[in-house]
């Protein structure tokens, strides 16, 4: 499910201004083999954590996925750089009781490739491909052993920056209120 302009114009402007000064370091997600640059925690991380740990957001995700109750969201901001060896293999994220995955495009400039692809785990049939995300658009992804997803190879010369994470059950985030 694609949420266009999930970030408001004001939020995009605030984030873009701070992305230039953000620090990143090389990172590998051992569970999936994904390699990327991981952003050090900063105000952007705090804002996106605040936005995603919103009870109205929890209700939306519960309604769309049929899962829940959602208690909190945790995510990270990462960057993939062309020709830097960064890649995203097929994976399903179906661990740790995750209810749904969520990603926001934080790339102010359009990048080439790196389409979000979803396939059937049973027969590798490509089910959907999303390649037209603009800065601030978001995608909600169902988590299931039946599906796998990845980003296709990043092409061109423009890096791709994204925020990605998961909705979880458990102890409710204080950011979501009582």
């Amino acid at each position: 499910m694609v949420l266009r302009s999930f970030l408001s114009a004001g939020e995009r402007e605030w984030i873009e201004a701070r992305l230039e000064d953000a620090s990143f370091h090389e990172h590998k997600i051992e569970a999936t083999g994904k390699t990327e640059l991981l952003m050090e925690p900063n105000g952007i991380s705090a804002l996106l954590l605040f936005k995603l740990n919103d009870p109205e957001m929890f209700e939306l995700v519960e309604a769309v996925t049929g899962g829940g109750p959602i208690a909190f969201f945790r995510g990270r901001t990462y960057r993939m750089v062309p020709d830097a060896g960064h890649f995203s293999p097929w994976h399903d994220d179906a661990v740790l009781d995750r209810i749904a995955a969520f990603t926001i495009n934080l790339s102010p400039s359009p990048f080439e490739g790196a389409k979000l692809q979803v396939k059937s785990a049973a027969d590798d049939e490509l089910l959907t491909e999303i390649g037209d995300l603009e800065f601030g658009d978001a995608v909600l992804i169902e988590i299931s052993r039946a599906y796998q997803h990845r980003n296709s190879p990043l092409l061109g010369s423009v890096p791709k920056t994204s925020y990605a994470g998961f909705f979880y059950p458990g102890e409710r985030s204080p950011l979501a209120g009582r």
Partner: protein, 88 residues
């Protein structure tokens, strides 16, 4: 009379169940405000004088004006100390 308002840049907030949850993103610091403070917070989002805030408290809660004035003063001092306010 000068108006006081919430800082425009880098301050994000929402109302949840009568309370306000807020983020000072420049400082990566979160805040929550109970219902009476949330009332003041919402007034400050549009800009308000100290008298406006006292009036709002008195209208919502059955408190003597002197008590409301003291509460508003203390609230504004805390908000100012955290850099969350601007004066027009």
């Amino acid at each position: 009379m000068s108006l006081i308002r919430l800082r425009a840049d880098g301050l994000f907030w929402r109302e949840t169940g009568g309370e306000v949850v807020a983020l000072d993103a420049d400082a990566s610091r979160y805040f929550s405000a109970n219902p009476s403070a949330a009332l003041l917070w919402e007034r400050l989002s549009d800009g308000a004088s100290e008298d406006d805030l006292v009036d709002a408290l008195c209208a919502r809660y059955d408190v003597p004006r002197a008590v409301a004035e003291a509460d508003v003063t203390a609230f504004l001092e805390q908000m100012s100390a955290r850099g969350l306010l601007e004066r027009a």
